[in-house]
Amino acid sequence: MFELGTLFKIFIAVVIVNNFILFRFLGLCPYIGVSKDTESALGMGMAVMFVMTMTAAVTWAIYNFLLMPLHIEYLVIIAFILTIATLVQLVEMIIQKTAPALYDSLGIYLPLITTNCAVLGVAMLNKDTLFGESLSFVKCIVQGFGAGVGFTLAMLLMSGIRERLELADVPACLKGIPIAFITAGLMAIAFLGFSGML
């Protein structure tokens, strides 16, 4: 009924094959910034996953029920970024009330989800590839959720590696961010192996 096969394909594509971080270069700032330990990586990933799924749903509604009927599609960037900013504010308030410990550990990076290009990226990608197709609302949500899952997956893998890297003997000039990038490069090569899958 819902073309489960297609939905599954979209999900796998966005989680593994076209991973947002390792293939599309979206959301690198938190990827490098918050991946120092597994716990905050997981928290950040969860927050992004939630915001992305919500964003996919809300931007679909805004584009189809507000921008299209009024023929103001040119406002799409402004409309989407304001939506995301509002959603992030909401998530921040919820986390602050329900999980103060998580809120403390995420610290500065939570407001930064607003300027996380992965979130706006998922909205724009949905607009370009999925709007206008049948059942596209469900597909949008699947793509948004999948992007979040892929983001979390890459974050977790990276944080695990970086915890070990702390103990490794790395040349002084590569310590910290440079070695994280080189690690990400090696991970991207591994993920490139999935590219023939679909």
Binding site: L22, F23, R24, F25, L26, G27, L28, C29, I32, Y74, L75, V76, I77, I78, I81, L82, A85, L112, T114, T115, N116, C117, V119, L120, G121, M124, L125, D128, P171, A172, C173, L174, I177, P178, I179, A180, F181, I182, A184, G185, L186, A188, I189, F191, L192
Partner: protein, 215 residues
């Protein structure tokens, strides 16, 4: 005195506070659009245009608001300044997006998603918050220009390395001749991460050498 400060505001973006290699800002577009020097230049200059325009507008806006509004009202506005900045930036990005689509359709297609994503480039919001809201319009212009060109320079450097190793070309011209077998991985995603990792290490190494010599 005034002149040296203007020069230092302008040049700080190139090496000392280079957005990509030193501040680590704006990494997503830096990696995604540096597949060739041409794309890198296009992206860098688009970002520079937005950065200059938003820096100037925000500086002007803050000055005017501070001038005309009462202390309490200004304090209230301060609380919603980030959404305000974002709307300003988003408007300029929309303009740049349509300009590119209209006049440079091929480049616009190559950059794709990353033109609208200039809006979430941390450099722009970062400069708005850290510089433009505290300085006058002239200095903000200089800051935007310097930072934007520093970003463009970093992007082009990345683009040059990747194009040279990945395609054996520079600006579309063959460099090594036809016998050269390019390492295609450098144009693909992994190459971007490796290149920026090693370049960053290189920049940092130079910085350490310099500070050692200073001592």
């Amino acid at each position: 005195m005034k002149k040296t400060s203007i020069a230092s505001e302008f040049f700080k973006g190139f090496i000392r506070e280079n957005p990509i290699f030193t501040l680590c800002l704006g990494l997503c577009p830096a990696l995604a659009t540096s597949t060739s020097v041409k794309n890198a230049l296009g992206m860098g200059l688009s970002t520079t245009a937005v950065l200059i325009a938003s820096n100037m507008t925000i500086s002007l806006l803050t000055t005017i608001l501070r001038g005309i509004s009462s202390e309490i009202f200004y304090h209230k506005i301060q609380k919603v300044r980030i959404p305000l900045y974002i709307v300003v930036i988003a408007s300029f990005v929309t303009m740049v997006d349509f300009t590119l689509k209209g006049y440079f359709p091929a480049l616009s297609k190559d950059l794709g998603l990353f033109v609208p994503l200039i809006v979430v480039n941390c450099i722009i919001l970062g400069r708005a918050e850290a510089f433009a809201s505290k300085h006058n319009i002239g200095l903000s212009l200089i800051d935007g220009l310097g930072m934007g060109l520093g970003f463009t320079m970093g992007l082009s450097l990345l683009g040059a390395v990747r194009e040279l190793l990945g395609a054996g070309q520079l600006l579309g011209l063959s460099v090594f001749g036809s016998n050269f077998k390019p390492a295609i991985i450098f144009i693909l995603a992994p190459g971007a991460f490796l290149t920026i990792g090693f370049l960053m290490g290189f920049f940092r190494h130079i910085a350490t050498l310099r500070s050692k010599r200073g001592n």
